[in-house]
């Protein structure tokens, strides 16, 4: 009876160990699968990163080329040619066309544009006062 008990005990140990080994094997298998999956996903990710990097470099090159094209079109010579082609007589503003104003809206003293405007005003005032006929004409035009 004692002997049988010993055998059954040994049998249970073996069964228990077999279960453990099976569990370990299963665990290893799962680990391998997980590793494979992770590896594959990493490879995919790496591939897509590579693709994105290449796309980025391509777009960067394209942007650089496009900005260069714009730079080339903006040179003074090309602009001049384009203006001539379209019949636009554009020039830098003359000193008499520039009015510099203070923050409160009054013009800086000694400006040519202001002097010219004042000269015009004075001239027209003189002209108005000199000829009554003209003044009449001017007032009629104004009424219209």
């Amino acid at each position: 009876m004692k002997r049988n008990r010993k055998v059954s005990r040994q049998m249970s140990i073996v069964a228990q160990n077999a279960a453990h080994v099976a569990a370990i094997m299963l665990m290893l298998f799962v680990m391998v699968i997980v590793n494979l999956l992770a590896n594959s996903s990493c490879s995919q990710l790496m591939k897509s990163i590579g693709e994105k990097e290449r796309l980025l470099a391509k777009l960067e090159d394209e942007r650089s080329r496009e900005s260069a094209r714009w730079e080339e079109m903006k040179t003074p010579e090309k602009l001049e040619r384009a203006l001539t082609r379209h019949g636009l007589a554009m020039r830098y503003a003359k000193p008499s066309q520039i009015v510099r104003l203070r923050a409160d809206g009054t013009p800086f003293p000694g400006q040519l544009s202001v002097a010219k405007a004042m000269q015009r005003d004075t001239a027209s005032a003189v002209a108005m006062s000199a000829s009554p006929a003209r003044r009449r004409v001017a007032s009629t035009t104004k009424r219209r």
Binding site: H20, G50, S64, S67, E71, T75, P76, P95, L112
Partner: protein, 609 residues
């Protein structure tokens, strides 16, 4: 139970750990051997993007930039072997059809491409470099074209073409600077190349997943110039027109900021195309503003007058006789027919450009004093502008001067200067006697945005006092008037302080009677005129413009006042308008309706005087 479990588990865990470790070792060795296979591994440098050069306005307007492009080469052998069929067609494309596609895409001569395709002994023949994506699409389509090898390259694009070529310079085929800023700042512009270590497949294409090392390249630094591309355009156009109109062989001009000595424009003709620098003639490669010395002629009289007044030997109204046979002086230079007064003030001597009076003044102050002033004005040494190959000019030591030179150096003979030195000296007069170091580089920014260099106003010397500078500027006003030698330099609404110079060229060791260099150097506004009544100080000078026309054959208008002065006027007018400089003689603008009317009145006044 517990000890029994331990007895079982410990060896199992140890076994597992050992097997994992050995497997790892084994596989690692295997992969390492595989990766180390030289057939699959490669290592290559990634070229750094060369830095760009911008004008004074900054990032918005690049003058030069490196742009990615495609280089196309023709491999006639590959073209022969390939059987290319267009979509849906059964007949392969003929060699002629392929060549026509290539020629059309790259705007090349069809016959030339066809000829290249027949030369099978020469593989990888250069076709073109292009940045056109449409051309790339056609040439990379294997159904349309075969035998074209495409490589990614970088092309240096010079947006202004020939303009500013002497300043910017050029690069050679290896991409190394060989002239101008490209040469001087090669280290900054070139950057640091990167590196890639990886594996490639059987076809030679890189396997991106197996890249082992990537060291990104550091792009080159960007350089910002003080030159404004719009002003440069105006200056170069005016100079080219002047050369054509007056028949000069070459010419140069420089525009400086009167306060800071920043170079706003610099032109030298003849010029070259930076893309074909190697093929350009040597004469056109010279930047005549900084790398060429010449006898300045009468423009040096201003320096003599400055020295005389600053020393207190003379004043603007001190009188001299225009008698050449004066025993006190040895071999005085002659005067032209334009000088007739028996007695002449220093002011008039400047206005009429009298050689005799200036020669006498030079002799009176002595060679040592004159030499010292010339040195202080920067003659005989480099100005330090950031361009390669700058010349220092020739100014012999005063102890080596013979008695003839005593009277010749004051009128600009027997010494040689560069245009930049002359402009810098005039800048000192414009800036109340303070000569600033001329600058052409405004800022250098590294590829990662750090500022490597920023130009700051640097005082080079103080050759004369403020009062002397003001007196001389006031004297120079007369030159660009109806009485002076440069009536054609007068600008409506602005006062011009300048001086003409018509220097005879030396041919076979003698001064030529037919070949001249005509110069005009002027300061606008002069800084000697009060804009409004009651102003505390005269209007500040804004720009200094120097123009020289070099006549290599006899020309009708070879004088500085007739040829260089009108060019000066055109450049100065454009610059004043562009820089929005307020006129210091607004009355003239009110009195005269336009520039033509002003010119006619000036002409009439000159004829009457």
């Amino acid at each position: 139970m517990c000890s029994e479990n331990k007895r079982f588990w410990l060896p199992v865990i140890a076994l597992l750990a050992f097997s994992a470790y050995s497997a790892q070792k084994l596989f690692r060795t295997h992969f390492e051997t595989d990766a180390a296979e030289p057939r699959y591994q490669f290592e290559r440098d990634v070229p750094a993007c060369r830095g760009a050069i911008y004008d004074a306005t900054g990032k918005s307007s690049a003058l030069v930039k490196s742009v990615p492009c495609w280089e196309y080469r023709l491999d006639p052998v590959a073209m022969t072997n390939a059987v290319v069929r267009p979509r849906g067609e059964k007949i392969p494309r003929t060699r002629e059809a392929i060549c026509r596609s290539i020629a059309n895409a790259l705007s090349l001569d069809y016959r030339k491409v066809l000829e290249m395709s027949r030369n099978t002994s020469n593989r990888y023949q250069y076709l073109a470099q292009s940045t056109d994506p449409a051309a790339h699409k056609i040439l990379s389509d294997r159904r349309l074209v075969s035998g074209v090898v495409i490589e990614d390259r970088q092309i240096r694009q010079y947006f202004e073409g020939k303009r500013l070529c002497h300043v910017i310079g050029a690069i050679n085929k290896e991409g190394v600077g060989s002239a101008g800023i490209e040469l001087k700042y090669e280290r900054e512009l070139s950057g640091v190349p990167g590196r890639i270590r990886g594996c490639r497949d059987a076809r030679g294409a890189e396997i991106y997943e197996k890249r082992m090392e990537t060291v990104a390249p550091i792009p080159g630094a960007d350089i910002r110039l003080t030159i404004d591309r719009n002003l440069q355009y105006e200056a170069e156009t005016a100079l080219a027109d002047g050369l054509a109109k007056y028949g000069a062989g070459s010419g140069w001009c420089v525009v400086l900021d009167a306060q800071t000595a920043d170079v706003l424009a610099m032109a030298s003709l003849p010029d070259f195309n930076p893309l074909f620098f190697g093929r350009a003639p040597d004469a056109s490669k010279v930047n005549r503003v900084t790398n060429f010395t010449y006898e300045p002629g009468s423009v040096m009289k201003v320096i003599t007058a400055c020295a005389g007044i600053d020393l207190g030997i003379v004043g603007p109204d001190s009188l001299y006789t225009t008698n050449r046979d004066d025993d006190r002086y040895y071999r005085l230079p002659g005067d032209g027919r334009h000088v007739w007064d028996p007695r002449m003030s220093v002011r008039d001597a400047l206005v009429h450009s009298s050689n005799i009076v200036m020669g006498k003044l030079g002799c009176d102050m002595g060679p040592k004093n004159l030499w010292n002033y010339m040195k202080a004005f920067g003659f005989g040494s480099k100005t330090g502008v950031e361009l390669p190959g700058e010349e220092g000019g020739i100014l012999p030591h005063w102890q080596k001067w013979d008695k003839v030179k005593w009277s010749r150096a004051p009128i600009g003979q027997g010494i040689s200067v560069t245009a930049m030195q002359l402009a810098s000296a005039y800048q000192a007069i414009a800036n109340d006697g303070v000569r600033m170091k001329p600058h052409i580089i405004s800022k250098i920014t590294s590829g990662d945005g750090r500022t490597l260099y920023e130009a700051k106003g640097e005082v080079a010397a103080r050759p004369i006092s403020r009062s002397t500078a003001r007196k001389v500027r006031e004297m120079m006003l007369g030159v660009a008037s109806s009485e002076g030698t440069a009536r054609r330099a007068a600008i409506r609404g602005y006062s011009v302080a300048g001086k003409t110079g018509t220097a005879q060229k030396v041919v076979n060791g003698k001064y030529s009677d037919s070949l001249y260099r005509a110069t005009f150097c002027g300061i606008v506004p002069s800084g000697a005129v009060y804009r409004n009544k009651g102003d505390q100080a005269p209007a500040q000078p804004r720009i200094v413009v120097l123009v020289t026309l070099d006549f290599d054959h006899r020309a009708l208008y070879h004088q500085g006042g007739n040829s260089s002065a009108p060019v000066f006027k055109r450049i100065a007018m454009a610059a004043l308008r562009y820089l929005e400089v307020e006129p210091d003689r607004p009355d003239e603008l009110l009195d005269f309706e336009d520039e033509d009317e002003f010119d006619n009145v000036m002409k009439e006044r000159t004829q009457s005087t």
